[in-house]
């Protein structure tokens, strides 16, 4: 068991794993050390991933590897060395979706169904 985990419990352990990842490929966008969320959905999806991880549905490192893969794939597709910060949470979202499906936490069809329901003008109430 890691020393941080003993000190702060699982939730603190995850937060600090993320906090200490300052310059790695999956490091979250920051300004002066503070996380930068340019739109509310970015903080929501970030919080979602952390909560699921705290609940033990997947390991942070598993998610991080998936995120790095998404970032690498997007970078090579765009031909640019580095994605703009705004793209980071789009990769984050894609990585989370893949982990949810791979871990059979959600089915792809369920996600698509909910995505359609969120479209403006299409309110499907279950």
């Amino acid at each position: 068991m890691d020393r941080y985990e003993r000190l702060f419990g699982n939730a603190g352990y995850i937060a600090r794993r993320i906090a200490s990842d300052i310059s790695g490929p999956a490091a979250i966008p920051r300004r002066n050390g503070e996380p930068v969320f340019t739109e509310p959905w970015e903080s929501r999806i970030f919080g979602t991933a952390v909560v699921l991880c705290e609940r033990g549905l997947f390991e942070w490192d598993e998610f991080r590897q998936r995120l790095i893969a998404e970032i690498t794939a997007a970078d090579s597709a765009s031909g640019e060395a580095k994605s703009p910060p705004s793209a980071y949470y789009e990769r984050f979202l894609a990585a989370l979706e893949r982990v949810l499906i791979e871990k059979k936490i959600c089915a792809k069809e369920e996600i698509e169904l909910h995505a359609r329901a969120e479209l403006p003008g299409e309110h499907e109430h279950h």
């Binding site: 002066n32 959905w41 970030f46």
Partner: protein, 207 residues
């Protein structure tokens, strides 16, 4: 990136981006499955912003706790000692670091506006800029600290420091007990934003 310079207040309402819609869909699906509660997300984001925000200031304090010579330099000339660790951007303001001791507890505010040492502390919390904090912390510091959940013994003198355009303050909290064998990085993780402003203490080590 002018967007990031502005307050995080509401922007003009506009249609949600495809990514925002997708994120909303995933959140609502997970809530429906009982795997997620919306307030749990709020809690995580809050903890995260609080813990990760003041990283630079936390590193400065952890270094000072570990290295007496650095601590001396930091208290003598905060701007230069902070620059040693590679944190700049102070734009001519002078940084003064205030050491908390068992007898003196320091708190920082800005009564005129919201001067804040953001290169070391990140963006100021909303309450720091509120008129209530700015006016009350000077008049009744003990009551305000009580509202932050910080009870100090009557024997501790509270000093309130009013920041200005020329001088920015940062508090160096006392090193928590039973941290002798922690590394500098682990110590830095105990230094919260609130402790650097003086409305809290560095986190104790959980047992």
């Amino acid at each position: 990136m002018t967007d990031q310079e502005s307050e995080r207040g509401p922007h003009h309402p506009r249609p949600l981006s495809p990514a925002a819609l997708r994120a909303k869909a995933i959140e609502s699906l997970l809530v429906e499955k009982g795997l997620l509660a919306s307030d749990a997300i709020d809690r995580v984001v809050e903890i995260y912003e609080k813990d990760v925000g003041p990283l630079n200031g936390a590193k400065v304090v952890a270094r000072a706790w570990c290295d007496p010579a650095y601590k001396r330099r930091l208290l003598e000339d905060g701007t230069a000692a902070i620059a040693e660790l590679g944190f700049g951007g102070l734009q001519g303001e002078h940084m003064v670091v205030l050491e908390n001791t068992p007898r003196v507890h320091n708190v920082v505010c800005c009564t005129l506006c919201s001067c804040y040492p953001w290169p070391v502390l990140g963006l100021p919390p909303t309450w720091y800029k509120s008129l209530a904090y700015r006016s009350r912390i000077i008049r009744e510091p003990r009551a305000v600290l009580h509202e932050f959940g910080l009870e100090l013994p009557e024997t501790v003198e509270i000093r309130v420091w009013d920041s200005s355009a020329e001088i920015r303050y940062m508090v160096m909290p006392e090193r928590p007990a039973a941290t002798a064998n922690l590394s500098e990085a682990e110590l830095a993780s105990l230094v919260t934003r609130d402790s650097l402003i003086g409305v809290g203490l560095a986190e104790p080590v959980a047992r």
